[in-house]
Amino acid sequence: MIIQDLLSEVAAVFTSLATAVPALALYVGIILLFFVVWSFVRRMLTPKSDYTSLKTVTFGDESTVVSNTAASIISVVFIFALWGAFTGSKLMPGFLHVPGPFVGEGEFTYTLEAEDGSQDEATVTVLVHEAGSAPDLPEIEEGDGAAKNDVIAVQSYRSKLLLWDGNDEITREEGAKIVAIDGGPIGRGVAASTAVGRVALTDKGTLNIQPDTGMQMESIWLPSPESVWEKLVTISRDGYQNVTLAEHLSYSLFRVIVGFLLGAAVGIPLGYAMGLSDWFRGWFDPIVEFMRPVPPLALIPLVIIWAGIGEQGKIILLFLAALWIMAIGARSGVSGVKISKIHAAYSLGASKTQIMRHVIIPNSLPEIFTAARVAMGVCWGTVVAAELVAAEKGIGKMIVAASKFQDTDIVIMGIVLIGIIGFGIDVLMRMMEKTLVPWKGKG
């Protein structure tokens, strides 16, 4: 039973993936296109003659594959270009936009046939307007014949039913029906495409007008880059739901830093004890090895039950997220010390305390820094998730609240900020690593 369900799920996933294949193929094509263009441009520029450029074997030589800065820049610019093109961004010229939704006035005609077989044509003027504006309907001439001209306003991305016989001389009850749209024959349940968009004849004989949506995304799905930027500006000035952006961010960062520091303060001594004593190793190995693979997110429910949704609970959670990582890092830092270094220190007359202070601790620092980098990353991910579940303040709380009001621009802004801060933390940790443990990997 389960297997059948899972298989059908897999099939569904593959089906939807299959629809993405043409888009992915196009994307790869664009990457290659830029590559060809860039190769050509580079040849125009000064040819390189450093050592690497003289290598004839480059395929498979890892040292020749350094990240191409041009490709990175184009890649990022291209993402923003795609974003702008599909949201009709005002930051880029209109000809780069993909076709947008139809806005403005358009017309189509319908042909009415009475029971006696006589036909008459009428024009429908459709006024498609953007959300939020309610335009005045223009005055139109009713025209002559049995069918009278209609006018209707439709909000873009929405559809509307037109009761066309409201003003006609014969109505549906009297046997009138539409037999053609824009001169093309049509039946019930069939749609025709017109200058305005899709016009369908419903089963009940009314007209369903769905203006052309184009290929752009509605801002509720994907807001334009500038509106995300504007939100960033207004929210960092006015705050969101009475909490400033700085407050949201500093709450999240505060939790991460306090949780991480507590985790390190307990985890590092624990790791040292495990690395230096077989008794402690034996005692804590089962605990650490069991807790390490438990994702911190799985602990959220228990932490909420035990400590509630306040700061304490979150800090306990982040403490647990950092603790095992730091303990394992410190443990392997201690275990990784070469025995010849320890022997050398002993035969140079060092005491146990001196060996701890001058050999074991400095030798373990690179591993501890690596662990700290991982732990900070995990803590950052965990704090956002924990705030999604329950919090009063915090960047995660901000985006989950925004999503409830469908403030997609705030959600996207929050995600981008979370990404930037996570990246910033990693860069900062790497810089600290470089200045504080320059001997990393040189032993």
Binding site: S340, H343, A344
Partner: protein, 270 residues
């Protein structure tokens, strides 16, 4: 009180997890006078590193004892310095701090230890590299630092475990001259383990050939080459007729031992 190093009837036997046991050393006795330089050769598994670790105090023998200057050796101590093959320097310290490590641990004043460091770095030719981190140095330079670090502590005995094993041939030759020079200038007792027969002949005033299973002394030589080599081009020493003779003799001896080991293990397999 007798001076010098006595290795008195040392045996080393330990159990294996599978229930068997290994006799790594059996009844090894040696008497080194202060200031003697002895090189130790032998096929792998003959227990020469085990012997060195026992003398250093890192291992407790199951029989016999080590006596240095009249007292029993109980554990590692600054009186017995070690020079390892590689990777025993503290890469988080500069060259100067590595050399100063021993005096620092004793709590010697910085002014005093700085003099020792300057002098020793002069001797090993690294005065200009004092402030560098050790990982910025080449392998040969790192071994010079290791020698200086060991000497800074004024040990009575220096134990060298293949100190030049990882160096290229040219650097190795230079370092061999340096070891001889340091030996003559400082008058230390040195035990040097090596895999190279030439190095053992060049540096060993006494040369010990050990045999495996159980590890024991196979043959001992007293050689003139170390004295000849002090202040002389070592390539000249190698031209000495006795040098070639001894080299062939010892190589043959070790070859025979290796072949015996191979034969025995093949026999065991069959």
């Amino acid at each position: 009180m007798s001076s010098g190093l006595q290795i008195d009837n040392i045996s080393m036997r330990f159990d294996l997890p599978n229930g068997g046991s290994v006799q790594a050393l059996k009844d090894v006795s040696l008497d080194l006078k202060a200031g003697e330089l002895m090189s130790v050769l032998g096929p792998s598994g003959c227990g020469k590193t085990t012997l060195l670790n026992i003398v250093a105090g890192f291992l407790a023998p199951t029989g016999g004892k080590i006596v240095l200057n009249g007292h029993d050796v109980q554990g590692p101590d600054a009186e017995r310095g070690m020079v390892f093959q590689q990777g025993a320097l503290f890469e988080w310290m500069s060259v100067r701090d590595n050399v100063r490590f021993g005096p620092d641990m004793k709590g010697m004043a910085k002014s005093e230890s700085s003099q020792i460091v300057d002098h020793l770095l002069d001797v090993v030719g690294l005065q200009d590299f004092k402030e560098k981190m050790v990982y910025e140095l080449s392998g040969g330079m790192q071994q010079r630092v290791a020698l200086a670090r060991c000497l800074a502590n004024e040990p009575d005995v220096i134990l060298m475990d293949e100190p030049l094993g990882a160096l290229d041939a040219l650097t190795r030759e230079k370092m061999q001259s340096l070891v001889l020079k340091l030996w003559k200038e400082t008058g230390k007792t040195i035990i040097l383990i090596t895999h190279s027969v030439e190095e053992a002949l060049l540096l060993g005033e006494r040369l010990l050939v050990m045999a495996p299973r159980p590890g024991r002394i196979h043959k001992e030589y007293r050689l003139p080459f170390a004295d000849l080599g002090v202040g002389q081009d070592l390539r000249e020493v190698k031209k000495h007729p006795e040098f070639g003779e001894r080299r062939e003799e010892i190589l043959g001896m070790i070859w025979d031992m290796e072949e015996e080991i191979m034969g025995r293990s093949e026999g065991a397999d069959a």
